[in-house]
Amino acid sequence: MARFINAMVLLAVLITSPMCNAQVCIYELQGKVTDKHQRPVVGAIVRLLSTSLGAATDTNGNFTITNICRGKDTLVCEAIEYKKTRVVINIADTESIQIVLASGENELGEVVVKGERLQDLHTATQTELSGKALEQTRGATLGQALKELPGLNSVQTGPTLSKPVIHGLYSNRVLIINDGVRQEGQQWGSEHAPEIDPFIANKITVVKGAESVRYGSDAIGGVVLLSPDDLPTQKGITGDVYLIGASNGRMGALSTSLQGAFDKALEGLSWRIQGTLKDAGNFSTPHYYLNNTGLREGDFSANVGYKWKGFDFNVYYSQYNTEVGIFEGAESGSLKDLLIKFESPRPLTRSFFSYDIQRSYQTVYHDLFKASSNYKFHNGGKLDITFGRQKDLRKEYDSDLPLTTDPNILKEPQLSFQLITQTLDLIYTQPNKNGFTGSFGFTGTTSGNVFKGIRYLIPNFRDYNGGIFAIERYSVNKLTFEAGIRYDYRWLQVYQRNPVNLVLYNTTYEYSNITGTAGALYHFNDHLTMNLNTGTAWRAPSINELYINGVHFSDASYEIGDSALKSERSINTSFSVNYTSDKLRSSIDLYYNNIWNYIYEMPLAQPVTTISGVFPAFAFTQDNVNIKGVDVSAQYAFLPNFTYQLKATVVRGYNETIHNHLIYMPADRLDNGIEYHLPNIGKVSEPYVSIDNISVARQTRVPPHTDYVPPPAGYSLWNANVGCLLHIKHNSLNIQFAVDNITNVAYRDYLNHFRYYADELGINYILRLKYSF
């Protein structure tokens, strides 16, 4: 009975509103609850007395409470078999506290609060994937995982390559920041997926809207921030093991992390190692397998941190390796080839299951070395310095071997790109004074691209980017203002060889831009908050937009770059309303993003004839466009133990120059679900059952004569989930079983580039186990 009550308290806390009576409610408190053996206490409830803001600890004993107000408060921690503990904390000053849970029935424990930090740009619209929602996406790619969030979609090239789409924008218009470092990979096509192992993150935050001021160029659509768990501070070793199996593609994934900290002479030193292995074979649609869609992935990372006086040093290294087969039925030698494949109800070749990866395939290697340090001044200010060096090496092998008699060339990929990027960030965060807080800093990046290949795609280049920014925030009573400004400079030199006389030559480009952001956040009362933000962003044309020239085989198109393209600039205004009460948590985000010089591929009247056939030609061009839309999300506890969940994403894109729709906008999407929380039984806690329906409409707003075939019909999918947490002594096992596409519907999605060739995936049974110790 006591446990049942505890579960009820947890639910109540989860749906309780963020109530802010004090002034600055922009802090985030992170911490960990452990027992006396430093083992995590799962399901403990931690809340702030004055506001009822609270959270339950996850399987690692970690908790995060956001939107906390500045000032003194009492933190209360409750857990079964432990006595309720209270401690007074002072938000804004507290760096780290430990709360020892008073003697319970038989054990002692403690709560460690690792310190709180300001949320970056809190007037911008943000959404977060963490906790149970993140666990339910484990094993999926980053692009697929983020589809769970309102306002996000993914653009795909077959089942294994996907990129996140924020408010209709993707690729080099979405910035990915991996633990503070800009992810620099090849973002030159829809088949170039982000080179990241999603298992490294225990929280993914998405900033929706143009926010170059804080994050630099390219943040036209938004920013995806991946954050790993903080390194432990308590002596001992803890870890997680994920084991995931999925029926579709007979996919298996194993991911492990181990972490620890030292005491005594080595106090302040902590570490983590992590690794992931993933293997999948041919995925299947309801009626056939997708030949050659297997993948292999092997990733690892290591992290060491050291805290010494006011300093905090951190060194991190990660490596990502993957080999991905490209669906055999999606190779088009020409437009005729594509249309034959489109008209056929199923791929023309025999379908079968296999783990083998044949040509064509791609291999990707990405590594990141990061060294960062921060120093806290006595006045409360903080200086952060972060250096990152990343290397991205991508090799693409066409379906046929190179035509040659030279055995060495036979082994070579048709395309190979190597991009090496160094980044340096220096940021000073000023202490809170009379309601003012802020940060300013410098960021610098340089990257060099080396293209090797036996068919031309893009040239070599070197670029240097520098930016300086300042953001200031002022809070008074229930209102917070925020404003920022930034200057960026980009220098780009492109190296080419004259195809006739082989003489080297180069072309230099310079771009500079000023961007700004301004916003306000208002807490009406305990239930209602509103925020309004106008942000600007810019993006220099990417190398493929400037220089690509050649056939894109999976799209059966001939792409032509334009070396005279100018920078894109955007102004995005977003307005959000959040309402939270005991039974309802809801938010509505409205946005209007105006983009000048938006770069896209315009079809040319004259097709290009090559020896392999006739290809429609597309030239990169730029126009002024706008994208507007609304994201809605709501969770409503309509009956005890039942929660209804709704997520809706509506995006409209319009080309103002040609007065027509914008191509490749996501279709309207509605996600509805009901979750039933069962009472805890013995060692089984938080059991739940949920069912979801995802309905996507047909995209009818497309510009005429730009696509070979009309957009596919709408579809409706059903997914189900059951899960619970098992306590095994002081460890825990999180069990989750999901069925995706229960009714095995055959459908195609407008944002999948392979919709010309094949259906999307059929039914998929997924078992996810997570053992935490």
């Binding site: 020409s334 060294a371 035509l403 691209n449 080396v450 280049f461 070197r462 080297l504 020896i611 030609a617």
Partner: protein, 189 residues
């Protein structure tokens, strides 16, 4: 404080070294790989079975694969005698090399996953029969060697397509992807 300075200096030095260590590989643009071959030309060479002096050919050429210019079709036509039978060789050439390089043997080496298909426009009195076979089990035709049987005088388009069918070849033209797809005008007189 001295210690702090040392730590800071070391950090900055390390960063500077890392920063300047990039060796500017991108400036050395790789020259074209000499052994790499391009398909620039598809040529048909037809020899009259009854009269070996009657040898005609036609060729479809595009020298630069990475350019949007029109192909050279000035030689993409051929005259056959009415009611005659010709042995036809399909040749694939790389004419960016001097002298032009014959790539046909390499296609021949990969005959188990290549198939040449012919589409004869209505009105053109021509029939085409492939005469060569690959080493698949069972064997399938390849089409690099063919027999053209010209009928009564007429003219029209002949489309020649080289299909690339790795592991899926079964004699059917619609499989795999297209490597070459060109058109010739055939006159039968």
């Amino acid at each position: 404080m001295n210690k702090t300075r040392i730590v800071l200096l070391t950090t900055i030095m390390t960063l500077v070294i890392f920063w300047s260590a990039c060796n500017k590989q991108e400036k050395a643009v790789a020259p074209p790989v000499p052994g790499n071959e391009f398909i620039t030309t598809l040529k048909l060479v037809a020899t009259n079975v009854a009269d070996s002096t009657d040898m005609v050919s036609c060729a479809w050429t595009k020298l630069n694969p990475n350019d949007t210019s029109a192909p050279d079709t000035s030689l993409a036509h051929m005259k056959l005698r009415a009611n005659a039978v010709y042995n036809v060789k399909v040749m694939v050439l790389d004419e960016t090399k001097t002298p032009p390089l014959d790539i046909t043997p390499e296609i021949q080496d990969r005959e188990n996953y290549h198939l040449v298909c012919f589409t004869i426009a209505p009105g053109l009195n021509l029939s085409v029969q492939r005469t060569d076979h690959d080493t698949n089990t069972p064997q399938h035709e390849v089409g690099l060697a063919d027999k053209f049987a010209a009928g009564s005088p007429s003219s029209g388009n002949l489309e020649v397509v080289l299909h690339h069918q790795p592991n899926v070849k079964n004699g059917d033209c619609n499989r795999g992807s297209i490597d070459i797809d060109v058109n010739f005008t055939i006159y039968i007189k």
